[in-house]
């Protein structure tokens, strides 16, 4: 393997920071979901790089589970966003402020 492990870790850290930046700046709930997906992918890169680094497959199998869970989470998230859209006609997370009703 010719690419040192540091490069992969740095790449995943950069992806994680980008995802966090997206969460901080975007107010669209769908953009929030996409940014979370980027962060989860950053974690997956780490897991798989470290699996090769440590020479066991735990990281690879866990990455598979993380993918399945991310898919499940997106399914529920989209359900909630659809219900939100039906109620507020918008997917902006700052629009719903009825909490003092």
């Amino acid at each position: 393997m010719n690419v040192p492990i540091e490069y992969f870790v740095l790449l995943s850290m950069a992806l994680f920071s980008i995802g966090l930046f997206g969460i901080l700046t975007r107010r669209n709930a769908l953009m929030f979901l996409m940014s979370v997906e980027i962060m989860v992918n950053a974690a997956n890169i780490n897991l798989i790089a470290f699996a090769l680094y440590h020479g066991n497959l735990t990281g690879q199998v866990f990455a598979l589970f993380v993918m399945a869970l991310a898919a499940a989470e997106v399914a529920i998230g989209l359900g909630i966003i659809l219900v939100l859209y039906r109620n507020f006609r918008d997917v902006d997370v700052t629009v719903p402020t009825t909490m003092r009703w």
Binding site: M1, N2, V3, Y7, F8, L11, A14, L15, I18, G19, F21, G22, T25, R26, R27, N28, L30, M31, L33, M34, S35, E37, I38, N41, N44, I45, I48, A49, A51, L52, Q60, A63, L64, M67, A68, A70, A71, V74, A75, L78, I81, L82, Y85, R89, D90, V91, D92
Partner: protein
């Protein structure tokens, strides 16, 4: 300097650029497309890291499932009125 390192640098550029595109582009639909590029390019690293099976699953689950779901929702919740272009700084972002 090996070919693998060059390939890694190229794909790292693609991944980071498209991830930045996801968070910076104004239209959620463009962001979803950029997310697709990001997810596919991440699969390349998995192949480089001897995780061919995970790479395949990345394509199948993320690109074939999650991304489709997200684009579906982007389409469903897209405001169809004409003033989208003018007001999207407030309404769409």
């Amino acid at each position: 300097m090996t070919y693998e390192l060059i390939a890694f640098a190229l794909f790292a550029f693609v991944t980071l650029a498209s991830a930045l595109g996801v968070v910076l582009l104004a239209d959620p639909w463009h962001s979803a497309l950029m997310l697709g590029v990001t997810l596919v390019s991440v699969a390349v690293y998995y192949v480089m890291l001897a995780a061919e099976f995970v790479a395949m699953m990345q394509i199948l689950v993320y690109v074939g499932g999650v991304l489709i779901l997200i684009t579906f929702a982007v389409m469903l919740t897209q405001r169809d009125d004409a003033d989208v272009d003018e007001t999207d700084e407030v309404v769409q972002t």
